[in-house]
Amino acid sequence: MTTLSKPMAPPSPLREFWSYFSANRGALIGLYYIIFLILLIIFADVISPYHPYEQYRQSFLMPPVWEAGGSWAHILGTDDVGRDMLSRLIHGARYSMLAGAMVVTLSLIIGIVLGVLAGFYRGTFEVVIMRIADVMLAVPSLLLAIAVVAVLGPSLLNAAMAIVVVSMPHYIRLARASTISEMSKDYVISSRVAGASSFRLMFVAVLPNCMAPLIVQATLGFSNAILDMAALGFVGLGAQPPIPEWGSMLADARQFVQSAWWVVTFPGVMILTTVLAFNLMGDGLRDALDPKLKQ
């Protein structure tokens, strides 16, 4: 950093953030992997060797190139109807990431707004919101998601909506709990004495101090969303064929676990690595965004 020559000049906030974030190697690896996935999503049509829906009738369940019977034509092999695995995995990143991003953004926004309002105003409003959230948490989440999809009809978008509904109560509770604990602190009273409006108190003074647990929950929520999508796909209520969503690819191939391991393993590995990358990055984000952990 060039700040050494001028010790009193503050580094720009972005550079400061980066210097803390990049000190965490795990978080960096997670970030690079996510950037790699985002590039895959953007350039999927250019990178993937074949169209994900195209079937090659001469090669059903062809193993990957390093196995006996594999060929360079299909590096990661083909599935049970002869579609190229690599192309389907690359295109599948689109659906999984999109679903994860949509679920996390929506449930985070709704959860934060409801949770902060409940923690700020207390009283009847809080009781109503929290009891509804409790009821939603009391129903097994997958069952609730299935019920929501059954009402809306099976599709990728509706499955995402269902997961939003299911994951929202966690954010509401978390946001409310941290809001309540922050509200009792002196700096909130001092903001109020300074004349801050309720809106400013809630979203400028209190909310940034509640973000650390919410960021961690959001990264976990990202992975949960991908996993829930897979589960909904598994019972036929998520992405509909032939959409190459990782979860439903995994589910479609479950009968070949014994005979053709690659059809099951590669989507699973993609889900695993993506979830891991988000968890690592979330951890690093939390450390870098919390001024109390800075030197």
Binding site: M8, Y187, V193, G195, S197, P291
Partner: protein, 331 residues
Amino acid sequence: MSADKKILLSVKDLKVQFSIKPQGALPWTKPLALKAVDGVSFDLYEGETLGIVGESGCGKSTLARAIIRMIPSSAGQVLWMGNEDLLTMSKSELQEKRKDIQMIFQDPLASLNPRMTIGQIIAEPLKTHYPETSKEDVVDRVKAVMKKVGLLTNQINRYPHEFSGGQCQRIGIARALILEPKLIICDEPVSALDVSIQAQVINLLVDLQKEMGLSLVFIAHDLSVVRHISTRIMVLYLGNVAEVSVANDLYDNPRHPYTQALISAVPIPDPVKERAKKVILLEGDMPSPINPPSGCVFRTRCPLADDLCAIEKPTLKSNEGGHWVSCHHAK
């Protein structure tokens, strides 16, 4: 007394009650009333410092927060400049008045938002009351006020946790000063600091008061600190005013038995005098404000208590020197 001075703030019979339920109470049991502040009245003149002392739990901080409407009061008036009642005015009127009334808190670090730089913290009152101020003006005024309280202006982009307790309190003072208010309520501003820093902060407050003509309400439990800074001192006991007087008068001739006991407990930095001093020890603890004693609230611990004290609650009475006391037996 100070008849020539204008009254800035006039508190009349202010009462604050909290309703609490005892542990394990059934939902339909009647909540108990905790009288945190029970009929406190005082006037604050322009440019003076009113010290408020009393032991823990006597309602000092509650009183301060009730005055600025951070806690709802159950009865009484808080008159600003003699005519407007802060407790009944609308929110938008109160917002206007907030420019003139600021507060300094006990725990300096907890009163600063850990996610804001100190520049943002000090600028907050300015930005909420005058959102049209340009960025350059805001920075200029923040820097000016930082200089005034003895902070280095190049620390403007640091976060609160990077500062010591004394510096944090200076940041709190800078935030209170940026709008150039008429009144600052200091809620035990030095109790969390060590002695040498206490002196610095108090001297800073005294200097700023002279320079800007501020009025201060200074809450503390350290009597020597209060004597040093206050023009007049009010002694609180269990939410009631025990005694109000000019600072030196109160220390030299305490009239209320509670004040006498408090002052006898202050150590004197002279071993001969200290040994000769008679310390009045009060027996027992402060009674619970949920169930205060009948009549005079201090009678359970008072060496002068008799039957009258149990029946009739004493009112605040003044002698010719403007020395108010609420005690049946005060000379």
